[in-house]
């Protein structure tokens, strides 16, 4: 992703841009809480320019990718999407990835915590091309995310199963639509040619008007991932690089013989995990928790905060803490040593609210 791919047509006036690993992305359009609310209650549209995109053919790339990514890429069926991770040689997570098998084409969409060159280095043995500058990725999320797409592409959209991919045309622009998302609400990732980016963005915003659509940026996505309990490679993933304490075992296939970082991960798995990431919420009215704050239980230091933010669903600050394994359980009362003083916190079950999308029946809309 380069600064140039946040095109004027997509960067709505007032958007705040920020840099991450040398790339420019849209952090927010205005009030972050309003953007989070739009996704939790209606629909939000994000310009996911930070996502790295690689393309190849199924015939050439499927098995080479299987030897790099931790999930079972080789078993990926046509029309389906795999959610997996990419680790470095030391078994440290560097990217959270969707791999889509769409007809003869295979599409890899990575959110990474390292510069693009590092991801490309790990994929060097795979016959895939980095097309990040040639495509635009949009994320449409929320309990009404189906609305604009149904109106633009037809009712078939409603029948897409979770983690599937299809080709569609949005007002003349060919796109690939992935039924996927990282907010705990209905989600669709839309991949369009860069030349069509402004048009697709505009059509989605226009079609979404009757559903209460609002654009949202990466700052809101960070909060949505936090209380939706989706792994955030750019928050807790930058602090805790080991996928085991992060609870990402479900993204890995331990039976596979080869993938990047496998031996290191399996060695740590055999030795036993000494720490685990657990969610916590501050007591009502308390504020000021920061990443790195020490967490105490019965007076003893037992871990540290690795991600935090405001949860709209809880109506209070919450976070993730890396805790010593014996005390890494929900339902315990901790104290966080914040700069402003001690804060009362309780470890909680995640996600701590019922996403509105769980109550929507797509066959009845």
């Amino acid at each position: 992703m380069t600064a140039s791919s946040v095109t004027p047509g997509r960067a709505i006036a007032g958007a705040v841009l920020a840099d991450r690993d040398g790339a420019t992305y849209i952090a927010r359009y205005g009030d972050v809480e309003s953007e989070v609310r739009a996704v939790r209650e209606a629909v939000g549209l994000m310009d996911a320019s930070h996502v790295m995109v690689f393309k190849g053919t199924v015939d050439d790339a499927l098995y080479p990718l299987d030897e790099v990514f931790a999930g079972n890429v080789a078993n990926l069926r046509y029309g389906r999407v795999l959610h997996t991770l990419l680790a470095d040689d030391a078994g440290q997570v560097i990217a959270d990835a969707y791999i889509a098998c769409n007809d003869d084409e295979i599409l890899v969409l990575c959110e990474a915590c390292v510069p693009r060159a590092e991801v490309a280095r790990l994929l060097a043995g795979c016959p895939v091309a980095d097309v990040s500058d040639d495509v635009a990725v949009f994320c449409l999320d929320g309990p009404k995310a189906w609305g604009p797409l149904r109106d633009l592409a037809g009712r078939d959209i409603l029948g897409m199963p979770y983690l599937s991919v299809e080709n569609h045309v949005l007002d003349g622009a060919p796109v690939q639509i992935l039924r996927a998302g990282k907010t705990a609400e209905f989600g669709y990732w839309i991949v369009a040619a860069a030349a069509d980016a402004a048009k697709v963005h505009g059509r989605l915003m226009a079609a979404g008007a009757r559903y209460g659509i609002a654009p949202y940026g990466l700052d809101a996505l960070d909060l949505l991932k936090l209380d939706g309990r989706f792994f955030n490679v750019n928050r807790e993933g930058r602090v805790v690089r080991d996928p085991l304490p992060l609870g990402l075992q479900w993204m890995m296939d331990f039976q596979k013989e080869r993938w990047s970082g496998r031996d290191a991960v399996l060695a740590r798995r055999a030795a036993g995990v000494a720490h685990k990431v657990v969610g916590f919420a501050l007591a009502a009215g308390q504020r000021g928790v920061r990443v790195g704050d020490v967490v105490r239980l019965d007076g003893e230091a037992v871990g540290e905060v690795v991600a935090c933010g405001w949860s709209l669903g809880l109506g209070r600050e919450m976070g993730l803490a890396l805790l010593d394994r014996p005390v890494a359980w929900a339902g315990l009362d901790f104290v966080v040593d914040a700069a402003s003083g001690p804060l009362a916190a309780r470890s909680i079950s995640l996600p701590p609210f019922v996403p509105a999308s769980l109550t929507v029946k797509l066959d009845e809309v």
Binding site: Y162, G247, Q249, D298, A330, L332, P351, L358
Partner: protein, 101 residues
């Protein structure tokens, strides 16, 4: 550690272990109990259970703990932890002979 903290952990750990064993056995999951994070999503992203799997999980929890999960209450299947909360809230762990393994 405070005895009350120890007691809370023991009660929760017992229910978690029983639910994880149930999941792994009933669904033939290729994971150990330690591999399953308590906050892993059961539906959609995460374990990705389909509707038949979800029914199997509900039946397993109902039989293991003697609780009733209302039909259509898929919100309980957000994660292992949310299922554990439900069992503990119903006070079913001890009644069904639960406790730490």
């Amino acid at each position: 550690m405070d005895p009350r903290t120890t007691s809370i952990i023991a009660e929760r750990a017992g229910v978690v272990a029983r639910i994880k064993r149930n999941l792994i056995t009933r669904l033939s999951l290729p994971y150990t109990e330690e591999d399953l994070h308590e906050d892993v999503s059961l539906l959609g992203s995460g374990l990705g259970l389909d509707s038949l799997d979800a029914l199997e999980v509900v039946l397993g929890v109902e039989q293991e703990f003697g609780v009733k999960i209302e039909e259509g209450n898929i919100a309980l299947l957000r994660s292992i932890n949310t299922l554990v909360d439900y069992v503990l809230e119903k006070g079913a762990a001890a009644a069904a002979g639960g406790g730490a393994p």
